[in-house]
């Protein structure tokens, strides 16, 4: 069967690609567009390592088909820093040692950014429930949750 | 003479004898002397054995010195699976 021709925006850049019907957005990002920052941990929407923003909405890119994203806006971990400046969440994750192996980190950062955009002053409980869709097996979540709360405080101060 | 104790199953290879007084001054000599006393043990000393000399565990260390009054335990080797710190 012929592949689908799709045009979309990824991290502000216009992209076009061909994909099979069954290919997921994650497959397209990683294999076709070579944006390997989004990770595949489960391919079933249970681990959040492939979290991206689709038109401003947080999604697991393993649950979205590549051919669904025509004309849409996708943001991935690769687009999070601005020029040479890391996003405050990225900076705080490093400062707080909020990552160990780092495989879940892109997903946590994308999800955390989505949270702070919607909720600039979250409680610990709100952070924990928002991030419940992202599995981390190394940190026990402690330093991740602290890093998100601390970043929120920093960003509120402007 | 160093006091040498076999821990666990090793004593099965010596007919149940688990304690020895040996004049070895290194792990290599210790293995040699034990092997001569109990040939069945010799093969098992080459690999998979850790040696505790006066409380400190050595693994894969043939040249480690043994003092005249040392207490030496032969144990199964210890490994693990972990993160990096």
């Amino acid at each position: 069967m012929a592949k689908h021709h799709i045009e979309a925006t990824v991290n502000g850049d216009a992209v076009e690609f061909l994909c099979e019907t069954e290919e997921t957005l994650l497959d397209v990002l990683r294999d076709t567009l070579h944006l390997t920052g989004s990770k595949e941990g489960c391919a079933s929407g249970d681990c959040g390592a492939c979290s991206v923003m689709l038109n401003g909405r947080l999604v697991c890119s393993c649950l979205v088909l590549g051919c669904e994203v025509g004309g849409q806006k996708i943001e991935t971990i690769e687009g999070m820093a601005t020029g040479e400046t890391l996003h405050p969440l990225q900076q705080q994750f490093l400062k707080s040692a909020a990552l160990q192996c780092g495989i879940c980190t892109p997903g946590f950062l994308v999800a955390s950014k989505a949270l702070l955009e919607r909720m600039p002053n979250p409680t610990e409980t709100e952070v924990r429930y928002w991030l419940a869709g992202n599995l981390c097996r190394c940190t026990g979540y402690d330093k991740i949750v602290s890093a998100v709360m601390d970043t929120a405080a920093t960003m509120r101060k402007g | 003479m160093a006091r040498v104790v076999l821990v666990g199953n090793l004593a099965q290879l010596t007919g149940g004898v688990a304690e020895f007084d040996l004049s070895a001054t290194s792990v290599k000599q210790l293995f040699q002397q034990l092997g001569e006393l109990h040939p069945a043990l010799a093969r098992h000393l080459e690999d998979g054995i850790a040696v505790a000399i006066d409380g400190q565990i050595f693994q894969d260390a043939l040249l480690e010195p043994i003092g005249p009054d040392s207490e030496v335990f032969l144990l199964p080797q210890i490994a693990g699976g972990s993160t990096s710190t």
Binding site: T36, L86, L94, A97, I103, T139 | G80, G81
Partner: protein
């Protein structure tokens, strides 16, 4: 030459919370993990796996798959030469290549659901998947056995007809599923129990659990026509992968170059090979690079989880709380091939306590499950959970404070460990004291809330390690280590190098070298890599300092006693100080060529003197008496780190281990159907804790220096998963009055127990 002592150098970075050198790559998506490598012309490899837990493989016909356009290679058991039965200490525990070759590719029989039976390489994943369906395997399905106690029965389905129990006299005449019986014995337990005023005996059961690393196994292999082999993979030990692959495929070790990718979690599960030899074999056949990545389902079904087990513990104490005798019998599942972690389980069971009479027996039992791999302090959480539960019960019965009871019996310097030798300085008492001093220990509890405490022990290891330091032309330092960095190793080693050489931390660039770039390294495991790596770095730095002093002597026409290395420079001493100025590492770098060539050092050691690490955990939880659901409310960890090279990453180890332990205790388990098939091979129903399941984990760093390490370091990575199971079970008893003896304490089990006691209105 008056070189300052290692510990005398002015430390500025060790012990501080530096930013990890690999951090920017990891927060921007740049870091390359196992599945992130690709090569031009690469094929995609896929594995055909057995749908049966136990079946004889009568025949495999690959002709239709081979004929499918786009398929470039198909491999089966026929592509791997058999290996002789020979035990080799490799990776974790002992392994036998006769079993390894059968685990990576089934030979006579498929021994578990998911066992690899064939593999294909094709031009696309879709074609590879189609090709798998065209492979015709004729199975003769055999009866299977999963549970360890059932597998030990004389009439149980037999996995290997050449497996005779080792360690029993007389040698058995009939094969069985019991591979090995091990034991340790001290004193006379029967006599010991006679001295006891109270003897508690209980049997416990734990479910098999998986390490649950988020990154699936992945490998990319490229074999050229002359047999040179390159492999990129996610592993805890690329030198071990090289050794295994060379052995299984009959290659010279020198012809195989393995590069460890960034590793997305291992916890022991990435110490062995699965895809790596298959990818190499496929690449060799197809003459093209082959990439293979496991799905999550494959990770659960066909990598190495840890044992499910049955443990019987008997502990005797005098009425004032002195432990006098201890007995335990451990039965651990090994999976399809022998080699469960029962030996360390036996040795660790009573290690935290000073007990005169100890007898522990362990059985290593095969059953139709994937072969277990190491999992964080392999074997210890299971046996210590059982022992800590019984210790708690003794405290209750004798009406003693559970911390005081542990303190009274705690191992300390000079205590003869239950497994033989005497302990050096260890920090169990310090962790108990630290916990007792917390506000947490005395905080009030409400009805249906409970508090539990438990201690834990792990040996820690050293081992072969090679690491190098190179002084670059501009005075910056390249650091190369050879053990994969899972949780901040590069940050710790860079701090040590910076302090040793007196250079700024950000001028040290650490990398993990491939097997062709740095000398042999044992794997990252046994909590060894920061411990041993820092020793190798100290050694490498020592060589550099000696070299710089020697060059200074030549430049200054001085004698060795007129110079010393301190604060990052070689300094002239005495009268010489009036004639010449100190020279920094960077100053020497500028004149390296003119003074003898490149400057560097290589630490090549077999690190010994790893100090055991003890920890004590404290947990509060609440039980919903109507649903059996358990909520962890508060958690505190105190553990002896010896000396924390990087406190934040040490805390991270404590916190991560605690939460893995919470999962093990409450919800994680391999669930098998009567058909012997795994029912929950995914993160939906294999329930690892999510962020909203757990509270903050307070981490208390106890530092009882390890005298055998230049900085006092002890391994810290494994001990943190040992105490949680017991601590949570003890808290459950505190909340409900019920002693739970089976893990996980999942809601259906908890509710049933509450109802049986008339404690639930549900």
């Amino acid at each position: 030459m008056a070189e300052t002592m290692t510990n005398g150098s002015s430390q500025t970075y060790v012990g501080t919370r530096t930013i990890r050198p690999d951090g920017a790559d990891k927060v921007t998506g740049r870091a390359r993990f196992g599945a992130d490598f690709n090569l031009p012309g690469q094929l995609i490899g896929r594995v055909l796996r057995s749908p049966h837990p136990h079946a004889r493989i009568v025949s495999i016909d690959t002709s239709k798959a081979e004929a499918l356009p786009g398929v470039k290679a198909v491999i089966t058991r026929a592509d791997f030469a058999d290996q002789s039965s020979e035990f080799i200490p490799a990776g974790e525990m002992m392994m036998n290549y006769k079993d390894v070759v059968r685990n990576v590719m089934a030979r006579e029989k498929a021994l578990y659901e998911g066992h690899a039976v064939a593999a294909v390489a094709a031009t696309s994943a879709a074609i590879a998947r189609r090709a798998l369906k065209l492979i015709e395997v004729k199975y003769e399905v055999l009866p299977h056995v999963i549970d360890v106690v059932e597998a030990m029965q004389p009439n149980a389905p037999l996995l290997h007809d050449d497996l005779f129990t080792v360690g029993v006299e007389p040698k058995p005449e009939k094969p069985s599923n019991i591979a090995k019986r091990v034991e340790i014995k001290q004193g006379d337990v029967e006599a010991g129990f006679k001295k006891a005023d109270l003897v508690i005996e209980r049997e416990f059961k734990t479910a098999p659990v998986h390490q649950g690393y988020i990154e699936p196994h992945a490998a990319l292999a490229s074999v050229s026509e002359d047999g040179s082999t390159e492999l990129w993979c996610t592993t805890q030990g690329h030198f071990i992968v090289r050794a295994h692959c060379a052995r299984l495929l009959g290659l010279d070790i020198g012809k195989v170059r393995v590069t460890a990718s960034e590793i997305g979690g291992g916890f022991g599960g990435k110490t062995v090979v699965y895809l790596e030899p298959l990818a190499i074999a496929l690449s060799k056949k197809a003459k093209r690079p082959v990439k293979m990545v496991m799905s999550r389902e494959e990770v659960f079904k066909a990598s190495g989880p840890t044992s499910g087990a049955t443990v019987r513990v008997k502990l005797g104490a005098t009425k004032d709380g002195k432990f006098v005798a201890a007995f335990a019998e451990l039965k651990y599942q090994a999976g399809a091939f022998q080699g469960s972690p029962v030996q360390p389980g036996v040795m660790c069971a009573f290690a935290p306590y000073d007990i005169e009479h100890v007898h522990v027996i362990g059985y290593d039992v095969v059953s139709n499950r994937p072969k277990v791999a190491a999992y964080r302090a392999p074997g210890a959480p299971i046996s210590e959970y059982a022992v800590e539960s019984v210790v708690d019960e003794i405290a209750k019965k004798l009406e003693l404070d559970p911390i005081d009871l542990r303190m009274q019996n705690a191992a300390h310097e000079g205590t003869k460990a239950a497994y033989g030798p005497k302990f050096g300085p260890v920090g169990l008492e310090e962790t108990l004291n630290a916990i007792k001093k917390t506000e947490h220990w005395n905080a009030p509890l409400r009805k249906w809330q409970g508090r539990g405490v438990a201690s834990g022990f792990w040996f820690n290891i050293g081992g072969e390690t090679c690491a190098s330091l190179t002084v670059n032309e501009d005075g910056t330092i390249s650091l190369m280590a050879g053990t994969p960095d899972i949780g901040g190793l590069r940050a710790s080693l860079a701090a040590v190098a910076a302090d040793e050489l007196g250079v700024p931390y950000d001028k040290v660039r650490p990398i993990i070298g491939d097997t062709g770039s740095v000398g042999f390294n044992f794997l990252t495991g046994g909590s060894r890599s920061a411990f041993s790596g820092s020793m190798a770095i100290v050694e490498a730095a020592k060589q550099i300092k000696a070299e710089l002093c020697a060059r200074a002597c030549k430049l200054w026409e001085a004698t060795p006693d007129q110079v010393e290395f301190s604060g990052g420079s070689v300094r002239p001493l005495g009268a010489l100080a009036e004639k010449v100025k100190p020279m920094s590492v960077a100053d020497f770098a500028k004149v390296a060529g003119k003074t003898g060539g490149p400057i560097g050092g290589v630490g090549r050691i077999n690190a010994q003197g790893a100090g055991p690490s003890f920890g004590t955990h404290l947990v509060d939880l609440e039980v919903d008496p109507e649903t059996g659901r358990v909520t962890v409310l508060r958690y505190t960890v105190a553990q002896d780190a010896g000396r924390a090279l990087h406190p934040a990453y040490v805390e991270g180890q404590f916190q991560g281990g605690a939460v893995q332990g919470i999962g093990w205790a409450l919800n994680e388990e391999y669930i098998y159907g009567d058909d012997g098939k795994l029912q929950n091979a995914g993160f939906l129903d294999y329930r690892m804790p999510v962020a909203s399941d757990v509270p903050m984990i307070d981490a208390i760093l106890v530092e009882v220096a390890n005298p055998k390490h230049p900085y006092g370091v002890r391994g810290v990575g494994e001990t943190p998963i040992v105490p949680p199971l017991g601590a949570i079970a003890n808290a459950m008893e505190s909340a409900t009055g019920i002693r739970f003896t089976e893990l996980p304490m999942s809601p259906p089990k908890v509710l049933k127990a509450l109802k049986d006691k008339g404690l639930s209105r549900a």
